[in-house]
Amino acid sequence: MAAVAVRAAVGLAMALCAALVVVPLLALTLRVPLRTLADQLGQRVVIEALVLSAQASLSATAAVVALGLPTAYLLATRTFPGKKVVEVVLDLPMVLPPTVAGLALLLAFGRAGLAGRLLQLFGLSIPFTTLAVVIAQTFMALPFFIGPVRAGIASLDPRAQEVARTLGATEWYGFWRVVLPLSVPAIVAGTAMAGARALGEFGATITFAGNLPGVTQTMPLAVYVELQRDLDTAITLSVLLLLVSFGLLLALRMGRAGPGR
Protein backbone atom coordinates (compact mmCIF):
# COMPACT_ATOMS: atom_id res chain seq x y z
CA MET A 1 0.00 0.00 0.00
CA ALA A 2 2.72 2.41 1.00
CA ALA A 3 4.54 1.68 -2.23
CA VAL A 4 1.44 2.52 -4.24
CA ALA A 5 1.00 5.79 -2.33
CA VAL A 6 4.63 6.74 -2.94
CA ARG A 7 4.31 5.96 -6.61
CA ALA A 8 1.14 8.03 -6.85
CA ALA A 9 2.82 10.95 -5.08
CA VAL A 10 5.86 10.82 -7.35
CA GLY A 11 3.65 10.63 -10.42
CA LEU A 12 1.58 13.57 -9.19
CA ALA A 13 4.72 15.66 -8.62
CA MET A 14 5.85 15.05 -12.17
CA ALA A 15 2.44 15.85 -13.57
CA LEU A 16 2.39 19.14 -11.62
CA CYS A 17 5.86 20.03 -12.87
CA ALA A 18 4.81 19.45 -16.45
CA ALA A 19 1.57 21.35 -15.94
CA LEU A 20 3.39 24.31 -14.41
CA VAL A 21 5.42 24.66 -17.62
CA VAL A 22 2.85 23.56 -20.16
CA VAL A 23 -0.23 25.50 -19.01
CA PRO A 24 1.28 29.01 -19.31
CA LEU A 25 2.98 28.17 -22.61
CA LEU A 26 -0.29 26.76 -23.91
CA ALA A 27 -2.15 29.87 -22.75
CA LEU A 28 0.38 32.00 -24.61
CA THR A 29 0.25 29.96 -27.80
CA LEU A 30 -3.54 29.82 -27.84
CA ARG A 31 -3.70 33.62 -27.68
CA VAL A 32 -1.66 34.13 -30.85
CA PRO A 33 -3.67 36.58 -32.98
CA LEU A 34 -3.66 34.39 -36.08
CA ARG A 35 -5.83 36.71 -38.21
CA THR A 36 -3.67 39.77 -37.67
CA LEU A 37 -0.38 37.87 -37.43
CA ALA A 38 0.97 39.20 -40.72
CA ASP A 39 0.24 42.78 -39.65
CA GLN A 40 1.76 42.15 -36.24
CA LEU A 41 4.95 40.81 -37.75
CA GLY A 42 5.11 43.72 -40.17
CA GLN A 43 5.22 46.32 -37.41
CA ARG A 44 8.32 48.41 -37.20
CA VAL A 45 8.87 47.70 -33.51
CA VAL A 46 8.68 43.96 -34.13
CA ILE A 47 11.01 43.95 -37.12
CA GLU A 48 13.55 46.19 -35.40
CA ALA A 49 13.52 44.06 -32.26
CA LEU A 50 13.80 40.90 -34.31
CA VAL A 51 16.76 42.12 -36.37
CA LEU A 52 18.51 43.61 -33.35
CA SER A 53 18.01 40.45 -31.29
CA ALA A 54 19.33 38.28 -34.11
CA GLN A 55 22.40 40.50 -34.61
CA ALA A 56 23.15 40.95 -30.93
CA SER A 57 22.62 37.37 -29.80
CA LEU A 58 24.59 35.93 -32.73
CA SER A 59 27.46 38.36 -32.01
CA ALA A 60 27.27 37.56 -28.31
CA THR A 61 27.28 33.82 -29.03
CA ALA A 62 30.30 34.23 -31.30
CA ALA A 63 32.06 36.20 -28.55
CA VAL A 64 31.12 33.56 -25.98
CA VAL A 65 32.62 30.79 -28.16
CA ALA A 66 35.76 32.79 -28.94
CA LEU A 67 36.39 33.66 -25.29
CA GLY A 68 34.89 30.57 -23.70
CA LEU A 69 36.56 27.82 -25.72
CA PRO A 70 40.16 28.62 -24.71
CA THR A 71 39.00 29.26 -21.16
CA ALA A 72 37.15 25.94 -20.98
CA TYR A 73 40.20 24.15 -22.42
CA LEU A 74 42.53 25.68 -19.84
CA LEU A 75 40.15 24.93 -16.98
CA ALA A 76 39.76 21.33 -18.17
CA THR A 77 43.44 20.59 -18.75
CA ARG A 78 45.47 22.73 -16.34
CA THR A 79 45.85 23.21 -12.66
CA PHE A 80 47.06 26.57 -11.42
CA PRO A 81 46.90 28.47 -8.15
CA GLY A 82 43.59 30.22 -7.69
CA LYS A 83 41.81 27.99 -10.20
CA LYS A 84 38.88 27.42 -7.83
CA VAL A 85 38.43 31.17 -7.48
CA VAL A 86 38.48 31.66 -11.24
CA GLU A 87 35.86 28.94 -11.63
CA VAL A 88 33.54 30.51 -9.06
CA VAL A 89 33.96 33.95 -10.61
CA LEU A 90 33.18 32.63 -14.09
CA ASP A 91 30.07 30.87 -12.79
CA LEU A 92 28.77 33.97 -11.00
CA PRO A 93 26.70 35.43 -13.88
CA MET A 94 24.61 32.26 -13.81
CA VAL A 95 23.26 33.02 -10.34
CA LEU A 96 23.67 36.79 -10.20
CA PRO A 97 20.41 38.78 -10.56
CA PRO A 98 20.66 40.20 -14.12
CA THR A 99 19.90 43.74 -12.97
CA VAL A 100 22.87 43.53 -10.61
CA ALA A 101 25.00 42.37 -13.52
CA GLY A 102 23.72 45.29 -15.60
CA LEU A 103 24.51 47.77 -12.86
CA ALA A 104 27.99 46.31 -12.46
CA LEU A 105 28.59 46.58 -16.20
CA LEU A 106 27.37 50.18 -16.11
CA LEU A 107 29.75 51.04 -13.31
CA ALA A 108 32.60 49.38 -15.20
CA PHE A 109 32.00 50.75 -18.68
CA GLY A 110 30.08 53.91 -17.83
CA ARG A 111 31.59 57.34 -18.26
CA ALA A 112 33.03 57.43 -14.77
CA GLY A 113 33.59 53.69 -14.67
CA LEU A 114 36.80 51.74 -14.20
CA ALA A 115 37.22 50.78 -17.84
CA GLY A 116 34.90 53.49 -19.10
CA ARG A 117 37.29 56.30 -18.25
CA LEU A 118 40.02 54.60 -20.26
CA LEU A 119 37.70 54.05 -23.22
CA GLN A 120 36.63 57.68 -23.00
CA LEU A 121 40.19 58.66 -23.89
CA PHE A 122 39.71 56.95 -27.24
CA GLY A 123 36.36 58.61 -27.68
CA LEU A 124 34.46 55.40 -26.98
CA SER A 125 31.30 55.29 -24.94
CA ILE A 126 29.66 51.91 -24.57
CA PRO A 127 26.50 52.27 -22.44
CA PHE A 128 23.22 52.59 -24.36
CA THR A 129 24.70 51.23 -27.61
CA THR A 130 24.17 47.95 -29.45
CA LEU A 131 27.67 46.99 -28.31
CA ALA A 132 26.41 47.28 -24.72
CA VAL A 133 23.66 44.79 -25.58
CA VAL A 134 26.25 42.36 -26.94
CA ILE A 135 28.45 42.81 -23.86
CA ALA A 136 25.52 42.26 -21.49
CA GLN A 137 24.44 39.14 -23.34
CA THR A 138 27.99 37.79 -23.51
CA PHE A 139 28.45 38.41 -19.80
CA MET A 140 25.27 36.54 -18.92
CA ALA A 141 25.70 33.67 -21.42
CA LEU A 142 29.38 32.86 -20.86
CA PRO A 143 28.93 30.34 -18.00
CA PHE A 144 26.30 28.47 -19.98
CA PHE A 145 28.98 27.71 -22.59
CA ILE A 146 32.03 27.24 -20.38
CA GLY A 147 30.26 24.76 -18.08
CA PRO A 148 29.35 22.03 -20.57
CA VAL A 149 32.41 22.53 -22.79
CA ARG A 150 34.79 22.33 -19.87
CA ALA A 151 33.05 19.18 -18.63
CA GLY A 152 33.10 17.75 -22.16
CA ILE A 153 36.83 18.32 -22.61
CA ALA A 154 37.58 17.01 -19.12
CA SER A 155 35.68 13.81 -19.85
CA LEU A 156 37.80 13.02 -22.92
CA ASP A 157 40.41 10.30 -22.55
CA PRO A 158 43.51 12.41 -21.87
CA ARG A 159 45.60 9.77 -23.60
CA ALA A 160 44.14 10.74 -26.97
CA GLN A 161 45.85 14.12 -26.72
CA GLU A 162 48.93 12.50 -25.19
CA VAL A 163 49.24 10.02 -28.06
CA ALA A 164 48.94 12.96 -30.44
CA ARG A 165 51.83 14.66 -28.64
CA THR A 166 54.05 11.57 -28.93
CA LEU A 167 53.19 11.41 -32.62
CA GLY A 168 54.80 14.80 -33.06
CA ALA A 169 51.80 17.06 -32.60
CA THR A 170 52.23 20.35 -30.79
CA GLU A 171 49.60 21.08 -28.17
CA TRP A 172 48.00 23.50 -30.64
CA TYR A 173 47.85 20.88 -33.41
CA GLY A 174 46.48 18.26 -31.02
CA PHE A 175 43.83 20.71 -29.84
CA TRP A 176 42.58 21.30 -33.37
CA ARG A 177 42.80 17.71 -34.60
CA VAL A 178 41.92 15.72 -31.50
CA VAL A 179 40.39 17.72 -28.65
CA LEU A 180 38.16 19.96 -30.77
CA PRO A 181 36.58 17.28 -32.98
CA LEU A 182 35.97 15.04 -29.98
CA SER A 183 34.37 17.94 -28.09
CA VAL A 184 31.92 18.87 -30.85
CA PRO A 185 28.84 17.53 -29.00
CA ALA A 186 29.73 19.54 -25.88
CA ILE A 187 30.53 22.65 -27.93
CA VAL A 188 27.23 22.40 -29.81
CA ALA A 189 25.36 21.98 -26.52
CA GLY A 190 27.18 24.89 -24.90
CA THR A 191 26.68 27.13 -27.93
CA ALA A 192 22.96 26.40 -28.03
CA MET A 193 22.54 27.05 -24.33
CA ALA A 194 24.56 30.26 -24.49
CA GLY A 195 22.68 31.39 -27.61
CA ALA A 196 19.33 30.81 -25.95
CA ARG A 197 20.47 32.65 -22.84
CA ALA A 198 21.74 35.58 -24.90
CA LEU A 199 18.51 35.76 -26.87
CA GLY A 200 16.40 35.83 -23.73
CA GLU A 201 18.58 38.30 -21.81
CA PHE A 202 16.52 41.13 -20.30
CA GLY A 203 17.66 42.52 -16.96
CA ALA A 204 21.30 43.22 -17.64
CA THR A 205 20.47 44.63 -21.07
CA ILE A 206 17.85 47.10 -19.87
CA THR A 207 20.07 48.25 -17.00
CA PHE A 208 23.30 48.58 -18.95
CA ALA A 209 22.12 49.27 -22.50
CA GLY A 210 18.76 50.91 -21.94
CA ASN A 211 15.63 50.46 -24.01
CA LEU A 212 16.13 52.40 -27.26
CA PRO A 213 14.07 51.02 -30.16
CA GLY A 214 16.32 49.94 -33.02
CA VAL A 215 19.48 50.33 -30.94
CA THR A 216 19.12 48.39 -27.72
CA GLN A 217 15.53 47.24 -27.65
CA THR A 218 15.84 43.48 -28.16
CA MET A 219 12.85 41.17 -28.34
CA PRO A 220 12.49 40.53 -24.60
CA LEU A 221 12.60 44.28 -24.01
CA ALA A 222 10.03 44.85 -26.75
CA VAL A 223 7.76 42.24 -25.14
CA TYR A 224 7.92 44.18 -21.89
CA VAL A 225 7.17 47.51 -23.56
CA GLU A 226 4.41 46.21 -25.79
CA LEU A 227 2.78 44.49 -22.83
CA GLN A 228 1.71 47.95 -21.67
CA ARG A 229 0.77 49.16 -25.16
CA ASP A 230 -0.49 46.34 -27.37
CA LEU A 231 -0.94 42.88 -25.88
CA ASP A 232 -1.19 41.14 -29.28
CA THR A 233 2.23 42.44 -30.32
CA ALA A 234 3.70 41.28 -27.01
CA ILE A 235 2.19 37.84 -27.57
CA THR A 236 3.50 37.61 -31.13
CA LEU A 237 7.02 38.50 -30.01
CA SER A 238 6.79 36.06 -27.11
CA VAL A 239 5.71 33.19 -29.28
CA LEU A 240 8.57 33.90 -31.67
CA LEU A 241 11.02 33.68 -28.76
CA LEU A 242 9.33 30.52 -27.55
CA LEU A 243 9.65 28.90 -30.98
CA VAL A 244 13.35 29.73 -31.26
CA SER A 245 14.08 28.39 -27.75
CA PHE A 246 12.06 25.26 -28.41
CA GLY A 247 13.82 24.74 -31.74
CA LEU A 248 17.26 25.11 -30.12
CA LEU A 249 16.51 22.54 -27.43
CA LEU A 250 14.94 20.15 -29.92
CA ALA A 251 17.92 20.41 -32.27
CA LEU A 252 20.20 19.72 -29.30
CA ARG A 253 18.27 16.58 -28.38
CA MET A 254 18.20 15.33 -31.96
CA GLY A 255 21.91 16.02 -32.37
CA ARG A 256 22.68 14.08 -29.23
CA ALA A 257 20.51 11.11 -30.19
CA GLY A 258 21.93 11.04 -33.71
CA PRO A 259 25.25 9.63 -34.95
CA GLY A 260 28.27 9.88 -32.73
CA ARG A 261 26.33 9.16 -29.57
Binding site: A164, T166, L167
Partner: protein
Protein backbone atom coordinates in the same frame (compact mmCIF):
# COMPACT_ATOMS: atom_id res chain seq x y z
CA UNK B 1 70.67 4.35 -31.14
CA UNK B 2 70.85 2.74 -27.72
CA UNK B 3 68.73 3.82 -24.78
CA UNK B 4 70.18 4.98 -21.51
CA UNK B 5 67.89 6.32 -18.85
CA UNK B 6 68.12 7.20 -15.20
CA UNK B 7 64.85 8.43 -13.78
CA UNK B 8 63.85 9.73 -10.38
CA UNK B 9 60.38 10.90 -9.58
CA UNK B 10 58.79 11.53 -6.19
CA UNK B 11 55.04 11.36 -6.03
CA UNK B 12 52.87 13.01 -3.40
CA UNK B 13 51.63 9.76 -1.83
CA UNK B 14 55.12 8.73 -0.79
CA UNK B 15 55.71 6.75 -3.98
CA UNK B 16 59.24 7.17 -5.25
CA UNK B 17 60.38 6.00 -8.65
CA UNK B 18 64.09 5.48 -9.04
CA UNK B 19 65.20 3.38 -11.98
CA UNK B 20 68.11 2.96 -14.32
CA UNK B 21 67.53 1.35 -17.70
CA UNK B 22 69.69 0.55 -20.70
CA UNK B 23 69.04 -1.22 -23.96
CA UNK B 24 71.06 -1.55 -27.16
CA UNK B 25 69.77 -0.50 -30.58
CA UNK B 26 67.44 -3.11 -32.00
CA UNK B 27 66.94 -4.60 -28.57
CA UNK B 28 63.84 -5.16 -26.53
CA UNK B 29 63.82 -4.37 -22.84
CA UNK B 30 60.95 -5.86 -20.91
CA UNK B 31 59.80 -3.95 -17.86
CA UNK B 32 58.02 -6.46 -15.68
CA UNK B 33 56.17 -5.81 -12.48
CA UNK B 34 52.86 -5.71 -10.69
CA UNK B 35 50.36 -2.96 -11.26
CA UNK B 36 51.38 0.03 -9.20
CA UNK B 37 55.08 -0.78 -9.47
CA UNK B 38 55.64 2.24 -11.71
CA UNK B 39 55.96 0.56 -15.12
CA UNK B 40 53.53 2.82 -16.95
CA UNK B 41 55.03 5.86 -15.29
CA UNK B 42 58.47 4.91 -16.64
CA UNK B 43 56.99 4.86 -20.15
CA UNK B 44 55.32 8.23 -19.60
CA UNK B 45 58.64 9.68 -18.44
CA UNK B 46 60.44 8.25 -21.47
CA UNK B 47 57.73 9.64 -23.77
CA UNK B 48 58.00 13.07 -22.18
CA UNK B 49 54.41 13.07 -20.93
CA UNK B 50 55.72 13.55 -17.42
CA UNK B 51 58.91 15.17 -16.24
CA UNK B 52 61.32 13.35 -13.93
CA UNK B 53 62.61 15.19 -10.86
CA UNK B 54 66.13 14.23 -11.81
CA UNK B 55 68.09 11.90 -14.05
CA UNK B 56 68.93 11.65 -17.70
CA UNK B 57 67.40 10.18 -20.84
CA UNK B 58 69.60 9.67 -23.87
CA UNK B 59 68.85 7.90 -27.09
CA UNK B 60 71.97 7.35 -29.11
CA UNK B 61 73.54 10.77 -29.48
CA UNK B 62 70.52 12.84 -28.57
CA UNK B 63 69.76 13.79 -25.00
CA UNK B 64 66.05 14.07 -24.21
CA UNK B 65 66.39 14.98 -20.58
CA UNK B 66 69.43 15.95 -18.56
CA UNK B 67 68.02 17.23 -15.31
CA UNK B 68 67.33 20.72 -16.62
CA UNK B 69 66.48 20.65 -20.32
CA UNK B 70 63.50 18.43 -21.09
CA UNK B 71 62.30 17.81 -24.63
CA UNK B 72 58.55 17.92 -25.18
CA UNK B 73 56.92 14.68 -26.40
CA UNK B 74 56.57 16.11 -29.90
CA UNK B 75 60.29 16.84 -29.97
CA UNK B 76 61.20 13.26 -29.08
CA UNK B 77 61.54 10.55 -31.65
CA UNK B 78 59.17 8.23 -29.84
CA UNK B 79 56.21 5.93 -30.43
CA UNK B 80 53.87 5.21 -27.53
CA UNK B 81 51.21 2.51 -27.53
CA UNK B 82 49.23 2.97 -24.32
CA UNK B 83 47.13 0.30 -22.70
CA UNK B 84 43.84 -0.14 -24.60
CA UNK B 85 45.59 1.68 -27.48
CA UNK B 86 43.71 5.03 -27.24
CA UNK B 87 43.01 5.17 -30.95
CA UNK B 88 41.47 8.41 -32.23
CA UNK B 89 37.77 7.47 -32.30
CA UNK B 90 36.82 10.26 -34.72
CA UNK B 91 39.36 9.25 -37.36
CA UNK B 92 39.37 6.33 -39.77
CA UNK B 93 42.06 3.68 -39.59
CA UNK B 94 43.96 5.41 -42.39
CA UNK B 95 43.66 8.82 -40.73
CA UNK B 96 44.86 7.32 -37.45
CA UNK B 97 47.94 5.96 -39.20
CA UNK B 98 48.52 9.21 -41.11
CA UNK B 99 48.25 11.36 -37.97
CA UNK B 100 51.92 11.33 -36.99
CA UNK B 101 53.06 12.12 -40.54
CA UNK B 102 50.62 15.02 -40.84
CA UNK B 103 51.53 16.35 -37.42
CA UNK B 104 55.17 16.36 -38.55
CA UNK B 105 54.21 18.27 -41.69
CA UNK B 106 55.18 15.61 -44.23
CA UNK B 107 54.27 16.47 -47.82
CA UNK B 108 50.87 15.05 -48.80
CA UNK B 109 52.20 12.53 -51.32
CA UNK B 110 54.68 11.18 -48.80
CA UNK B 111 51.94 10.92 -46.15
CA UNK B 112 49.85 8.81 -48.50
CA UNK B 113 52.73 6.65 -49.63
CA UNK B 114 54.09 5.91 -46.16
CA UNK B 115 50.66 5.37 -44.61
CA UNK B 116 49.72 2.98 -47.42
CA UNK B 117 52.92 1.03 -46.88
CA UNK B 118 52.22 0.79 -43.14
CA UNK B 119 48.59 -0.24 -43.68
CA UNK B 120 49.82 -2.94 -46.05
CA UNK B 121 52.49 -4.18 -43.69
CA UNK B 122 50.13 -4.39 -40.73
CA UNK B 123 47.39 -6.09 -42.73
CA UNK B 124 45.07 -3.10 -42.44
CA UNK B 125 44.51 -2.29 -46.11
CA UNK B 126 40.94 -3.54 -46.15
CA UNK B 127 40.12 -1.74 -42.89
CA UNK B 128 41.54 1.64 -43.96
CA UNK B 129 38.16 3.35 -44.17
CA UNK B 130 36.72 1.90 -40.96
CA UNK B 131 36.57 3.65 -37.60
CA UNK B 132 38.18 2.17 -34.47
CA UNK B 133 34.86 1.49 -32.71
CA UNK B 134 34.04 -1.28 -35.17
CA UNK B 135 37.36 -3.11 -34.90
CA UNK B 136 38.30 -6.19 -32.91
CA UNK B 137 40.91 -5.96 -30.17
CA UNK B 138 43.57 -7.48 -32.40
CA UNK B 139 42.79 -5.11 -35.24
CA UNK B 140 42.92 -2.14 -32.89
CA UNK B 141 46.29 -3.31 -31.68
CA UNK B 142 47.62 -3.41 -35.23
CA UNK B 143 46.28 0.10 -35.91
CA UNK B 144 47.96 1.38 -32.75
CA UNK B 145 51.25 -0.22 -33.78
CA UNK B 146 51.01 1.08 -37.34
CA UNK B 147 50.20 4.56 -36.04
CA UNK B 148 53.20 4.52 -33.71
CA UNK B 149 55.65 2.98 -36.18
CA UNK B 150 54.77 4.90 -39.34
CA UNK B 151 56.98 7.79 -38.22
CA UNK B 152 59.88 5.37 -37.69
CA UNK B 153 60.61 6.32 -34.08
CA UNK B 154 63.92 5.53 -32.40
CA UNK B 155 62.14 4.37 -29.25
CA UNK B 156 58.94 2.32 -29.17
CA UNK B 157 57.04 2.13 -25.87
CA UNK B 158 54.49 -0.65 -25.52
CA UNK B 159 52.31 -0.59 -22.42
CA UNK B 160 50.78 -4.05 -21.85
CA UNK B 161 50.01 -4.39 -25.57
CA UNK B 162 48.29 -7.74 -25.10
CA UNK B 163 46.41 -7.12 -21.85
CA UNK B 164 43.37 -5.60 -23.55
CA UNK B 165 42.71 -8.81 -25.50
CA UNK B 166 40.69 -11.89 -24.59
CA UNK B 167 42.71 -14.90 -23.57
CA UNK B 168 42.37 -16.90 -26.84
CA UNK B 169 43.19 -13.84 -28.97
CA UNK B 170 46.10 -12.98 -26.71
CA UNK B 171 47.82 -16.26 -27.40
CA UNK B 172 47.50 -16.00 -31.19
CA UNK B 173 48.40 -12.33 -31.27
CA UNK B 174 51.50 -12.86 -29.19
CA UNK B 175 53.15 -14.53 -32.15
CA UNK B 176 51.77 -11.99 -34.56
CA UNK B 177 53.08 -9.12 -32.45
CA UNK B 178 56.52 -10.68 -32.37
CA UNK B 179 56.70 -10.92 -36.13
CA UNK B 180 55.42 -7.34 -36.54
CA UNK B 181 58.11 -6.07 -34.18
CA UNK B 182 60.88 -8.16 -35.71
CA UNK B 183 63.35 -6.06 -37.60
CA UNK B 184 62.46 -2.85 -35.76
CA UNK B 185 65.77 -0.98 -35.76
CA UNK B 186 65.16 1.12 -32.66
CA UNK B 187 64.81 0.27 -29.00
CA UNK B 188 61.60 -1.30 -27.69
CA UNK B 189 60.54 -0.98 -24.08
CA UNK B 190 57.80 -3.52 -23.43
CA UNK B 191 55.79 -3.30 -20.23
CA UNK B 192 54.02 -6.39 -18.95
CA UNK B 193 52.92 -8.14 -15.80
CA UNK B 194 52.69 -11.46 -17.62
CA UNK B 195 55.70 -13.80 -17.20
CA UNK B 196 55.10 -15.59 -20.50
CA UNK B 197 55.16 -12.31 -22.41
CA UNK B 198 58.24 -11.20 -20.51
CA UNK B 199 60.02 -14.40 -21.54
CA UNK B 200 58.87 -14.19 -25.15
CA UNK B 201 59.66 -10.55 -25.83
CA UNK B 202 62.55 -9.69 -23.56
CA UNK B 203 66.13 -10.46 -24.32
CA UNK B 204 66.70 -8.32 -21.29
CA UNK B 205 64.21 -8.01 -18.46
CA UNK B 206 64.10 -5.45 -15.69
CA UNK B 207 61.78 -6.27 -12.82
CA UNK B 208 60.20 -3.27 -11.15
CA UNK B 209 59.08 -3.45 -7.55
CA UNK B 210 57.65 -0.40 -5.80
CA UNK B 211 59.36 2.03 -8.12
CA UNK B 212 62.77 0.34 -8.11
CA UNK B 213 64.46 -2.20 -10.34
CA UNK B 214 64.80 -5.20 -8.05
CA UNK B 215 66.64 -7.26 -10.63
CA UNK B 216 67.59 -6.91 -14.25
CA UNK B 217 69.42 -9.14 -16.63
CA UNK B 218 69.10 -11.64 -19.41
CA UNK B 219 66.04 -13.81 -19.63
CA UNK B 220 67.92 -16.98 -18.57
CA UNK B 221 69.55 -15.31 -15.63
CA UNK B 222 66.23 -14.20 -14.19
CA UNK B 223 64.69 -17.55 -14.94
CA UNK B 224 67.30 -19.50 -13.02
CA UNK B 225 68.81 -17.00 -10.58
CA UNK B 226 66.02 -14.84 -9.15
CA UNK B 227 67.12 -12.40 -6.48
CA UNK B 228 63.85 -11.33 -4.96
CA UNK B 229 60.72 -13.10 -3.81
CA UNK B 230 58.70 -11.33 -6.48
CA UNK B 231 61.07 -12.27 -9.29
CA UNK B 232 61.03 -15.88 -8.13
CA UNK B 233 57.26 -15.88 -8.00
CA UNK B 234 57.12 -14.18 -11.40
CA UNK B 235 59.31 -16.93 -12.80
CA UNK B 236 57.50 -19.65 -10.87
CA UNK B 237 60.46 -20.72 -8.73
CA UNK B 238 60.92 -21.42 -5.04
CA UNK B 239 63.42 -18.97 -3.61
CA UNK B 240 65.00 -19.49 -0.23
CA UNK B 241 67.32 -16.93 1.33
CA UNK B 242 69.76 -17.93 4.02
CA UNK B 243 73.26 -17.97 5.53
CA UNK B 244 75.90 -20.61 5.01
CA UNK B 245 75.98 -22.88 8.05
CA UNK B 246 78.55 -25.40 6.93
CA UNK B 247 80.54 -25.87 3.75
CA UNK B 248 82.08 -29.31 3.20
CA UNK B 249 85.13 -30.09 1.13
CA UNK B 250 83.08 -31.66 -1.67
CA UNK B 251 81.10 -28.47 -1.98
CA UNK B 252 77.99 -29.72 -0.21
CA UNK B 253 76.74 -26.79 1.77
CA UNK B 254 74.16 -26.44 4.49
CA UNK B 255 72.25 -23.18 4.42
CA UNK B 256 70.39 -21.89 7.41
CA UNK B 257 67.18 -20.03 6.59
CA UNK B 258 64.85 -18.01 8.74
CA UNK B 259 62.89 -21.09 9.75
CA UNK B 260 64.78 -24.19 8.67
CA UNK B 261 67.75 -25.38 6.68
CA UNK B 262 68.55 -26.50 3.15
CA UNK B 263 71.37 -28.63 1.81
CA UNK B 264 72.73 -27.92 -1.64
CA UNK B 265 75.31 -29.75 -3.70
CA UNK B 266 77.41 -26.69 -4.37
CA UNK B 267 77.38 -22.93 -4.65
CA UNK B 268 78.10 -20.60 -7.51
CA UNK B 269 80.07 -17.42 -7.55
CA UNK B 270 81.96 -15.93 -4.65
CA UNK B 271 81.80 -17.77 -1.35
CA UNK B 272 79.60 -15.22 0.37
CA UNK B 273 77.92 -16.03 3.65
CA UNK B 274 74.52 -14.88 2.32
CA UNK B 275 73.01 -17.15 -0.30
CA UNK B 276 69.97 -17.52 -2.52
CA UNK B 277 68.72 -21.03 -3.16
CA UNK B 278 66.38 -21.57 -6.11
CA UNK B 279 64.42 -24.78 -6.41
CA UNK B 280 62.22 -25.56 -9.39
CA UNK B 281 58.78 -26.79 -8.28
CA UNK B 282 59.29 -29.78 -10.55
CA UNK B 283 62.29 -30.92 -8.50
CA UNK B 284 60.06 -31.42 -5.48
CA UNK B 285 58.58 -34.84 -4.77
CA UNK B 286 55.59 -35.32 -2.47
CA UNK B 287 54.86 -38.24 -0.15
CA UNK B 288 51.90 -39.08 2.05
CA UNK B 289 54.09 -40.67 4.76
CA UNK B 290 57.73 -40.11 5.74
CA UNK B 291 59.81 -41.65 2.94
CA UNK B 292 63.06 -43.52 3.31
CA UNK B 293 64.49 -41.54 0.46
CA UNK B 294 68.06 -40.47 -0.15
CA UNK B 295 67.07 -36.86 -0.79
CA UNK B 296 68.81 -34.57 1.69
CA UNK B 297 66.02 -32.08 1.99
CA UNK B 298 62.86 -33.36 3.58
CA UNK B 299 60.09 -31.17 5.00
CA UNK B 300 56.72 -31.82 6.53
CA UNK B 301 53.75 -29.54 6.02
CA UNK B 302 50.14 -29.13 5.00
CA UNK B 303 48.72 -28.55 1.55
CA UNK B 304 47.47 -24.97 1.50
CA UNK B 305 46.24 -24.78 -2.05
CA UNK B 306 46.23 -26.79 -5.26
CA UNK B 307 46.23 -24.77 -8.47
CA UNK B 308 45.89 -26.43 -11.88
CA UNK B 309 48.47 -25.05 -14.31
CA UNK B 310 47.64 -23.87 -17.81
CA UNK B 311 46.84 -25.72 -19.97
CA UNK B 312 44.46 -27.15 -17.39
CA UNK B 313 44.59 -30.79 -16.52
CA UNK B 314 48.25 -31.62 -17.05
CA UNK B 315 50.05 -30.33 -14.00
CA UNK B 316 49.07 -29.00 -10.61
CA UNK B 317 50.95 -26.55 -8.40
CA UNK B 318 50.74 -27.58 -4.77
CA UNK B 319 51.37 -24.80 -2.26
CA UNK B 320 52.69 -26.06 1.08
CA UNK B 321 53.14 -24.48 4.50
CA UNK B 322 56.52 -26.16 5.07
CA UNK B 323 59.47 -24.29 6.60
CA UNK B 324 60.76 -22.86 4.35
CA UNK B 325 57.64 -22.48 2.26
CA UNK B 326 57.63 -24.55 -0.90
CA UNK B 327 55.54 -24.89 -4.01
CA UNK B 328 55.66 -28.27 -5.75
CA UNK B 329 54.52 -28.97 -9.26
CA UNK B 330 53.27 -32.50 -9.81
CA UNK B 331 51.27 -34.27 -12.48
CA UNK B 332 47.55 -34.67 -12.19
CA UNK B 333 47.94 -38.43 -11.99
CA UNK B 334 50.33 -38.02 -9.06
CA UNK B 335 47.71 -35.95 -7.27
CA UNK B 336 45.19 -38.73 -7.79
CA UNK B 337 47.64 -41.47 -6.90
CA UNK B 338 48.58 -39.74 -3.65
CA UNK B 339 44.99 -38.73 -2.99
CA UNK B 340 46.08 -35.15 -2.25
CA UNK B 341 43.61 -32.62 -0.95
CA UNK B 342 43.85 -29.22 0.65
CA UNK B 343 44.65 -29.26 4.38
CA UNK B 344 46.33 -32.64 4.18
CA UNK B 345 49.71 -33.34 5.75
CA UNK B 346 52.46 -34.35 3.32
CA UNK B 347 56.24 -34.72 3.09
CA UNK B 348 58.11 -32.79 0.44
CA UNK B 349 61.66 -33.52 -0.59
CA UNK B 350 64.22 -32.48 -3.15
CA UNK B 351 67.77 -33.55 -3.81
CA UNK B 352 70.75 -31.39 -2.96
CA UNK B 353 71.56 -31.43 -6.67
CA UNK B 354 68.05 -30.21 -7.48
CA UNK B 355 68.70 -26.80 -5.99
CA UNK B 356 70.83 -23.97 -7.33
CA UNK B 357 72.64 -21.83 -4.79
CA UNK B 358 74.26 -18.51 -5.64
CA UNK B 359 75.57 -15.50 -3.83
Amino acid sequence: MSLEARLTLGRAAGFVLDVELAAPAGGTLVLAGESGSGKSTVLRLLAGLERPDAGRIALGGSVWFDGTACLRPDERDVGWVPQDYALFPHLSVRENVEFGLRARRCPATEVRRRASAALERFGLRDLAGRHPAGLSGGQQQRVALARALVTEPALLLLDEPLAALDLPARQTLRGELRSLLAGFPGVIVFVTHNPVEAMLFGERIAVLEQGRVSQSGGRDELLTRPRSAYVAQFMGLNLIQGRVLERQADGVTRVETRDGSVTVAGTEGAATPELFVAVSPREITLYRSAPEASAQNLYRGRVLEMVPELPFGERVRVVLDTHPRLVAEVTRSAVEHLGLSEGQEVYASFKATGAVAYG
